[in-house]
Symmetry: D3
Subunit: 165 residues, 6 copies
């Protein structure tokens, strides 16, 4: 298979890339995103009066779990032994900022796990507040930092000199 | 339980809202979003040279499946019998526009299914092209139209007179 | 199949019982259970100092979700369209009392959904506090009330004149 | 969407076919298949000496559960409320005959559920006996009968005048 | 993240604890519990006349599988590579004693896997016999032994000098 | 547990075999199978006119994903960290030949992952073409090659001197 499971197939069809030759290294990735919300939803989040209940806590749990569900959702993602997940939600005046950090020691990066965690957290937040805000919008979901692996460390805050994925 | 499973609990804790009193009606929802990509990724999509294989086809399948996975991902979402799903990807010069339409006949809306479909399609697209674009970004994910259910029909294109969720 | 999918097979082997002849009726079931905990865990729950975070909120979300996972866990359980779930946790001096109420309109009872909700909530609570209590114990998990369906209504509090399952 | 979710898309891309216009009817489907096994495996099954344990019982349970997992495995399959499942295994001299019957009342057929049940039962049987038979082979998996739905009843035994799917 | 993914977060919110610094060691855990049953259910189990079929075999398979499902059910549980699972059911005069032993080599304990295995086995047993016993009750679910990991070995039978979790 | 989790239990009941004593080695397995199809289905595949859309692409994605779902489907299969998957579909005059190759580095073989990949790919292909072919049939699903692990390398093409499982 060393000839067959390369990164590109002759006919361009999809395959799960072979990572068996890559070393196991400690890896960490962070992602972030934002859910834009109406003032009524922001007020309900701040006052703790969202009708379906504690929206921020439920969205956080959904985000934490979603990191583990990544290979079920993304067809060609490799199964990864997730070692740690953190999800933060910060209520701002026009929305909620979501960030997630995931850590592992494996043969492949976990940027997809961090992105999935942020995204499912955002979907859940929308589900929680949809009775009070019918125009929620997910925006700016991206990798913000990574470390470990062959391509080196990178962080959004440090400028665009490296590469997040 | 008619007293207990109301839309708001006295202590503000989370619960799955009772929909058993709502009528079964035909419902449809559409959502859309965009994955911003670098020119190299756009070129690879247009040329069919994405290393992991046919990115658009894999992302479409992931989006179609994700509509069925919504209640697994979003903790308080109701299980819904999905009757139809369509996912479209349109490659533009600076990204890929994703849209999804979901249809059912049930007691509750399927806006979350449409949003989940778009979002997982977007995550998969990022996974497919990450070898050639390390700065992909998901943006503008929102409900674009809905019909059926108590709150009436609405469409983004028709102006903001109604409500998508 | 009217001859074949009866409630008992000639050879005693397992099968999913045929419910296609049963009417769709509104059904509700409640279950309860208790997690016995050491004083240190009770104190941490009351003070909000559980190291892994807000144990009661996470356990509640796990319980709410688990009602939807019942047919995945219990091999011969029928898929049921869950319409509502409530999970309550009450911290007592020697443990946490858990109760769950589930509602549907379907051809078969949802006692298993209520029991699964309580049980997974209990497992999650143990996972949350295990760093401070190494002897947690789940006890007294049972159906406490049911209504709808052929076998009539029943409630534990009303005496043992009916049947919960 | 009545224009959009038709059975064929203009660009030939995949979609979940719209069944919302189809009536809910009682439906039943049967499928069958065979796992070809070496004499040593047949003997172990008959003597109850399969090293991993009671192979037939485990394979039966796996087949019963698999009917419920069909929409998770087959990307464009509709979620179906499975009402009954039966799985039979018959040990013959050169293999094991597997058959499954599934019943529902829904808008779409459940032939895929019956086929999935047979197939996962077969995979599990191979997993159970692989220590004693390294050349097991699944063969002749097909729909053997169906009833309900628009296309009418059909059975393999009754000749090839109708259509199973 | 070495500063961020500690065992306690400043705001007390939930997170998946970082285990990436813990060594991979061989670990084993056992759990036990009991399902209290009416004489009619005990008789049906002993006579093999449970209407839904071989209840003990189905409950055993459900328990074996459930060990693998733990991270799907318990939101903050780490994914663990399960290496072995055993589930035992012993029919007594007033109920069924269930025990499970799970083994792995990983960075974190598998007590939750053993508890989940016992609990889902118990739920399945109740599902199997509910037609003949409407008052089944799960009780005394707890860790009974553990070995491996930093906190040392422990067994219920050896007295309460150690710690199971 | 070294005494308890052996390969055979005294009472013949099912258990997940203990692999904790086996070394981690690079392993690869291939499987193949065939879906027999009517000329109308073959023509539709060749012309790209299958009503549900691009059948070969969807079946391929389903097969790739299924390798990761094996421990969810096969009750006693060990979780395995899949490192690579390839699925090929070749349209012949009377059917479609499916083959899959899976690679890992783990304590147990991945023949079951390769077989599951082929089988779910075949089921999906049938689902895609069932509107034009009501007599599709899965046949000849078997392991075709393996390498790594204690039992040595083997390939169908090289004769029957070794053992695939």
């Amino acid at each position: 298979m060393s000839e067959r499971l390369t990164h590109v197939r002759a006919d361009g069809t999809a395959h799960m890339v072979d990572v068996s030759g890559k070393p196991v290294t400690a890896r960490q990735a962070s992602a972030a995103g934002r859910v834009l919300l109406a003032p009524a939803a922001i007020a309900a989040l701040r006052d703790g009066t969202v009708p379906k209940g504690d929206a921020l806590a439920v969205a956080r749990v959904a985000g934490l779990q979603a990191a583990k569900r990544t290979p079920d959702l993304v067809p060609l993602a490799h199964p990864v032994a997730v070692h740690a997940v953190e999800v933060d939600l910060l209520v701002a005046d026009d929305g909620v900022d979501i960030s997630a950090t995931v850590r592992t020691a494996d043969r492949t990066g976990i940027e997809m796990e961090a992105l999935t965690s942020v995204t499912v957290c955002a979907l859940t937040l929308i589900d929680m507040v949809k009775a009070v805000d019918k125009h929620a919008r997910i925006t700016d979901v991206r990798v913000t930092a990574k470390s470990g692996g062959r391509s080196g460390d990178w962080a959004e805050d440090a400028g665009d000199e490296g590469a997040p994925v």
